[in-house]
């Protein structure tokens, strides 16, 4: 039983990380029907932004107070990257066949990875992420379970981000504009909504959450590297599809389900096909099963069919 609960804790941690990234895929998809494969790189750049902030401003400091500033630095760098990416690479392709932006996304992904590898000092190999008081260090024992300190940060970050996101989408004018564009961009434009602005905001929102995820991963794994966005992006995209792409709640649920599935597979599938070596296989088996029996995803895709 302890093992079961322990793996639930691990799964929720991993799942929260996936969810933070998955929201970015789903928000952008819901509005422009684009699978932004470069989103994993935005996440990676967020982690490097946090590390750079720490290195430049606070090298050697371990106080908890530097963490909010690191998160802020991460968010700034990620949002800037996403907005510039949208402006330069995606906007000129608005209205082009859908394959074009998709290939562009992969191109940007490779470009961003290589840019970080070449120009960030020391990024050719893994970089260690700073140890911050309170959120890193020996785990906390609660009722026989071990809770990683960084896990508390990750789950907390997801809760706060999700609450803010919900408020933004449902309670602000801009958020309602986003919903309108997602339902029918042409009519939304006729109603006086600046569609281009809404799209930029969608990219920026996703990037901000991914940046928080980047910091979380740095704290959890204690290191970051320029390739970290690839696997994380892939998993988050899976989570978004699992939950129903275009659906924000779906992305969060999908992320958590995927994380828990991976942890459970590590612990409970015995023999040759078990253990951590096969956890990704089981995670993708789950995805296939969901898509076979519920093609719209767990919570249903919120997309408008524009035939």
């Amino acid at each position: 039983m302890t093992e079961f609960l322990q793996q639930i804790v691990n799964g929720l941690t991993l799942g929260s990380l996936y969810a933070l990234i998955a929201v970015g895929y789903t928000v952008v998809y819901g509005i422009v029907q684009l699978i932004n494969f470069a989103h994993g790189e935005v996440f990676m750049i967020g982690a490097f932004g946090a590390l750079a902030t720490w290195t430049v401003l606070f090298k050697g400091q371990t106080g908890l107070w530097v963490l909010p500033i690191m998160v802020l630095g991460a968010v700034l760098v990620s949002v800037l990257t996403a907005v510039v990416m949208e402006r330069i690479a995606y906007r000129p392709l608005r209205g082009a066949p859908r394959l074009a932006p998709l290939i562009t996304a992969i191109g940007i992904s490779v470009f961003l990875q290589e840019a970080v590898r070449l120009f960030y000092p020391g990024a050719k190999s893994k970089l260690s992420f700073p140890e911050i008081d309170v959120v890193t260090g020996p785990g906390i024992a609660v009722a026989g379970l071990n809770i990683q300190r960084a896990a508390v940060f990750t789950v907390g970050a997801l809760l706060v981000s999700a609450a803010l996101l919900w408020y933004f989408v449902n309670r602000t004018r801009l958020g309602q504009g986003m919903q309108a564009v997602s339902q029918d961009p042409d009519t939304a434009q006729l109603m006086g909504i600046n569609v281009n602005r809404i799209i930029v905001i969608a990219f920026a929102l996703g990037a901000a959450l991914a940046a928080v995820g980047g910091v979380a991963q740095g704290l959890l794994n204690s290191n970051i590297d320029f390739r970290m966005g690839f696997l994380a992006g892939l998993k988050a995209f899976t989570a978004a599809v699992l939950g129903g792409i275009g659906n924000i709640q779906g992305a969060i649920v999908g992320g958590l389900v995927l994380g828990i599935a991976e942890s459970m597979a590590t612990q409970f599938i015995p023999g040759q096909f078990g253990g951590s070596a096969w956890k990704d296989v089981w995670a993708f088996v789950l995805l296939i099963l969901v898509l076979v029996f519920r093609p719209q995803g767990l919570l249903g895709a919120r997309v408008v069919d524009r035939a």
Binding site: G11, L14, L102, S125, P138, M228, S263, G275
Partner: protein
């Protein structure tokens, strides 16, 4: 309908991007170094094949520069009259497929007569046949996988062209097992990364550890591309091991050590020469004190010859440190140079002297920086010294050395 087609395309893109990530070339231009070609001297090249980029580049660059140092000294002292030696360095990225391509490139260069490399046993498995087919001597400074010289059955040498200056995982695993038992640690969990090196190391460790009276309470693996090991740590933790023995290299071992301690598994992580690097301590952070490692040979700075090597290396001002295998690489290059003294004497070009070089390397015997350099009938070194290290105050400190022949 448009919806569905986007998803289909998305799925195929996913596959395509996976493939792309697999074959990206991260190599940098290799620099030919090793002195100028003076007068009408004929040129022979010594190849270096090691990870010069990526996670393991700290070790690979040390190998490259150590060979460059040996070649520079040989040229300066005109060790081989009438010939100038050059170094041709190729990046294998620590990957088997890239290594094989690199080996093919070196083998097709008629001037290449001997090669120092690879770092990873899994890569050497792929490069051995390429060099063997071209009759090129290959001396690895770092491959500790026993089957590379002794075959799968432990008693038949697969390639006559392959030698190594370091000892094997049989010695290393045995030493580690005894080391833990001596410290009163009678239960361990093993974790490896499924690569040739890690898997072999854990196998030989487990055999020796059981024979010495210890119990392996859990055996797990990790995926080297991952960086979150929390589920594995949670799976291992309830079996309450006295230590974790890890087969693999520092880019994974460092974070694993840190995540073990964050995940409530407060026991030392022990590994082989693959984790014996300052980068391990850097990645493992402040909770790595007490972690253990073994490495082949004695610490280079313990012998007079080793001190001189390190001083020369320092004086040559290479941008990267000699790292764990510097001394072995220097000895490997010198073994080739020693052999060339006889094989190149009357040769008209390097290609025709390749076979003579292989024969001559088998017979070399001289005092190198890591001890006596000579090879047995399998191509293994006769020096089987292993040293145990412990992390104290943020760096590896040697605990004891032993000849485990």
């Amino acid at each position: 309908m448009a919806q569905r087609s986007v998803m289909t395309v998305g799925a195929s893109m996913l596959v395509a991007s996976l493939a792309l990530a697999g074959c990206g070339t991260r190599g940098e231009d290799s620099n030919d170094t090793g002195g100028s070609t003076g007068g009408s001297a004929k040129v022979a090249k010594i190849g270096v094949i090691a990870p010069l980029s990526g996670d393991l580049s700290a070790l690979g660059k040390g190998i490259q520069h150590s060979v460059e140092l040996a070649v520079k000294q040989a040229n300066d002292s005109k060790a081989i009259p009438g010939w100038t030696l050059e170094v041709e360095a190729v990046d294998d990225e620590g990957k088997a497929d890239v290594g094989k391509n690199g080996a093919t490139k070196l083998a097709s260069d008629d001037q290449v007569i001997g090669v120092v490399g690879n770092l990873n046993s899994s890569v050497s498995q792929q490069t051995q046949p390429v060099f063997a087919a071209a009759n090129i001597t290959q001396i690895s400074p770092a491959n500790t996988g026993p089957s590379l010289t002794r075959g799968a059955d432990g008693n038949s040498r697969p390639y006559k062209t392959f030698f190594r200056t370091c000892t094997t995982d049989i010695a290393q695993g045995g030493f580690a097992a005894k080391f833990l038992i001596d410290q009163g640690i009678k239960t361990v969990a093993t974790i490896h990364d499924k690569k040739t090196y890690g898997q072999g190391l854990v196998k030989y460790f487990t055999e020796a550890y059981k024979a010495a009276g210890g119990t392996v309470v859990a055996a797990e693996t990790i995926n080297p591309d991952e960086s979150n090991y929390a589920p594995v740590v949670s799976k291992v933790a309830p079996s309450k091991p006295g230590a974790v023995y890890y087969g693999g290299e520092y880019p994974q071992a460092g974070p694993l050590s840190k995540q073990m301690k964050a995940g409530g598994l407060n026991v030392p992580l022990m590994g082989g020469d693959g984790i014996f690097d300052p980068k391990f301590v850097e990645l493992a952070g402040s909770t790595s004190n007490g972690d253990l490692a073994t490495s082949v040979g004695e610490p280079t700075e313990n012998s007079e010859a080793g001190k001189k090597f390190l001083a020369d290396y320092e004086a040559a001002k290479y941008p990267e440190a000699a790292a764990a295998y510097g001394g072995y690489s220097y000895d490997a290059a010198n073994a080739i140079i020693e052999a060339l003294k006889t094989s190149l004497k009357d040769a008209k070009d390097p290609k025709s002297a390749r076979q003579a070089t292989v024969d001559a390397v088998g017979k070399v015997s001289f005092d190198g920086v890591t001890g006596k350099v000579s090879f047995d009938e399998f191509g293994d070194t006769l020096v089987k010294v292993i040293t145990g290290y412990k992390v104290e105050g943020g760096k590896f400190v040697s605990v004891k050395s032993e000849n485990v022949s």
